[in-house]
């Protein structure tokens, strides 16, 4: 599904990712953890193709095709979904209007007919229910005036509708209280399937109590310095990042 090989990436000329390698197969759930400034958000932004995030060397393949050749929207249409760390407000554009445009674009790329209005609305309502989001949010401006937790749930709601092949969740758990975290986790778990891969980028081990990953990677200074199973997360919780980054320093 996703093949990252010795990826180096820079933001405004400053190298942030310094040789990152990661392989994600269909159906797998990977968690990428790391302290502040380790390059977690850069990785998500590079994968989604944000302007200003430049791949300086190495390569990223999505279903065998190099991502570097694809525009942001082409990646989205190919099935990459990024749940934003800070979802953006777009006043004046309703959530529903936004969803419709997005779904139409993604479905068209897959050769599917656009959903009729009734089906679309029914599905959107179902997705809202799934993440405990009042249907009124469909009428409001995209993320406009939403609380932090509502914005995050709105991201998951969109993910459920768009049914991506690869879901990147960029610190979707930060700023959420436990109840909201459970709701988000329920949504993500519902999407787990043998065809779909999920990459959780997170700062807190807490998320992994609710979404149990197949693999855990520790990112520090732009590289994955340790990989393991879900027990690695527990170890991290007990010992902190210093255990690993210190290890790195002494090596």
């Amino acid at each position: 599904m996703l093949e990252v090989r010795d990826l180096h990436a820079a933001v405004e000329g400053k190298e942030i990712l310094k040789g990152l390698t990661l392989t994600v197969k269909p159906g797998e759930v990977h968690a990428i953890m790391g302290p502040n400034g380790s390059g977690k958000s850069t990785l998500s932004n590079v994968l989604a193709g944000r302007d200003g995030y430049e791949i300086t060397s190495g390569e990223v393949l999505f279903e065998g095709k190099p991502l570097a050749d694809m525009e942001t929207e082409e990646r989205a249409r190919a099935g990459i979904f990024l749940a934003f760390q800070y979802p953006v407000e777009i006043p004046g554009v309703s959530n529903m209007e936004f969803l419709k445009a997005s779904l139409e674009a993604v479905r068209a790329a897959q050769g599917k007919e656009p959903l009729d209005a009734v089906t679309l609305l029914r599905r959107a309502r179902e997705a809202c229910q799934h993440v405990n989001l009042d249907q009124q949010f469909l009428k409001r401006g995209v993320n406009e005036g939403f609380s932090g937790g509502e914005k995050k749930r709105n991201e998951i709601m969109q993910m459920m509708l768009l049914e991506p092949k690869l879901a990147l969740l960029d610190e979707t758990d930060s700023g959420l209280d436990i109840d909201a975290l459970q709701v988000v986790a329920k949504g993500v778990n519902a999407l787990r399937s043998p065809e779909r891969s999920i990459v959780l980028v997170t700062h807190y081990q807490r998320l992994l109590d609710y979404i149990v990953p197949d693999f855990v990677h520790v990112l520090a200074d732009g590289r994955i310095i340790k990989s393991g199973g879900k027990e690695l997360a527990l170890e991290l919780e007990q010992k902190g990042y210093g255990w690993l980054t210190g290890e790195e320093e002494s090596a």
Binding site: A48, G49, R50, D51, E71, T72, E73, R75, A76, R77, F81, L82, F84, P87, V88, E89, I90, P91, G92, V93, S94, E97, F98, A101, S102, A105, V106, A109, G141, V142, Q158, L162
Partner: protein, 480 residues
Amino acid sequence: MSTEAEIDKLVRREYAAGFTTSVESETLPPGLDESVIRHISSRKGEPEWLLEWRLAAYQKWLKMTPPQWAHIHHPPIDFNEVSYFSAPKSMADRPQSLDEVDPELLRTYEKLGIPLHEQAALAGVAVDAVFDSVSIGTTFRGKLKEAGVIFCSISEAVHEYPELIKEYLGSVVPQGDNFYAALNSAVFSDGSFVYIPKGVKCPMELSTYFRINEAKTGQFERTLIVADEGSQVSYLEGCTAPMRDENQLHAAVVELVARKDAKIKYSTVQNWYPGDEEGRGGIYNFVTKRGVAHENAHISWTQVETGSAITWKYPSVILRGDNSVGEFYSVALTRGRQQADTGTKMIHMGKNTKSTIISKGISAGRSENTYRGLVRISPRAEGARNFTQCDSLLIGDQCGAHTFPYIESRNPSATLEHEATTSKVSDDQLFLCRQRGIDTEKAVSMIVNGFCKEVFRELPMEFAVEAGKLLEVSLEGSVG
């Protein structure tokens, strides 16, 4: 492609109405003096009083100078370089019905999406088409007549309804009101006249399409709408012009009279040729629009301004009668080198008068977009209320957005509120949209349409769609 490059592409979209029509025209040589005015008047077979009225306006105009206060810059206009009258030759003997109109002219309007054959026309919309200086035909006249509604060119009205014209012409915008209104009063060639009798609700939308075709020709149309007591009308004007390298002058006057309990809704979709990217050519649009609202009357201006090299217009309402209502809803989009200085005046004279101003300015490219508005509460306007919201959206860092509201209150029981904001289409917003598979173009148009929503919903249904599309087309290539 980078977002910037895409936006750039978007902004460079071509002007779709830029074709010219080859019809043989009779055009007066450039220049303005009394003989030109006499020629226009005699050519139209006008009565003596109207000629005198024009000449008086001309005398006033000679003593005036072009206003300097607007936030626009252009080389001085040589008023002797402009031709003040042009008419298709085939119109010399006025056609009696649309069937007799030169098919080339009808095709022009069809190209613009305005079929003039009634069977093909938009159902429920009567159209008066003005080509250069003359009206070439008005649809659905019979049906309107049944309701008692008069809808014809102002030239015809001068002959057929002289009493109405005499009573109302210049009653809202006097001859010497301002430089461009005075010029219009002296040389106006044609335009539309509407009269809705007492208690009648006009059975269909009325609309006028203005088209400038001839080179070096000014267009000076005059529109007069009188809604008698308790009547209602909705009127829409649209404007286009061919792409030409030189600037063309358009100085129109629109007068609205809403008598007691009457309601007038006046909508404009203005898409005159804006000039090319470097600012060559385009229409200079200097327009005076004003309405008088008598007791309980309601006047609403809605405008979508995307064209013209220069726009200078302030559709206004004089709230003369108690409880009268004035509204102004505006979207003004500028790109390339366009300059717009537009807004409104709400003059509260009656008690409990109410006005609402919603203005949305969108600036892209290297354009300048200015809102200029006046809200004046006179001492006897007890309980008057105004709410003003003017928002600006900037696209790119080469353009300017300006807000100059004048707020004057002389009555303590009046309540005035004015709010203004400026924002931009941010990279973050575009990235979110693109990450969801929505391309930049679509994303920008969604954001812009969202920004303008409050104004679009004031437009008659058929035209709201048109306005949205027009904006999309105009914005192609504007995002940065």
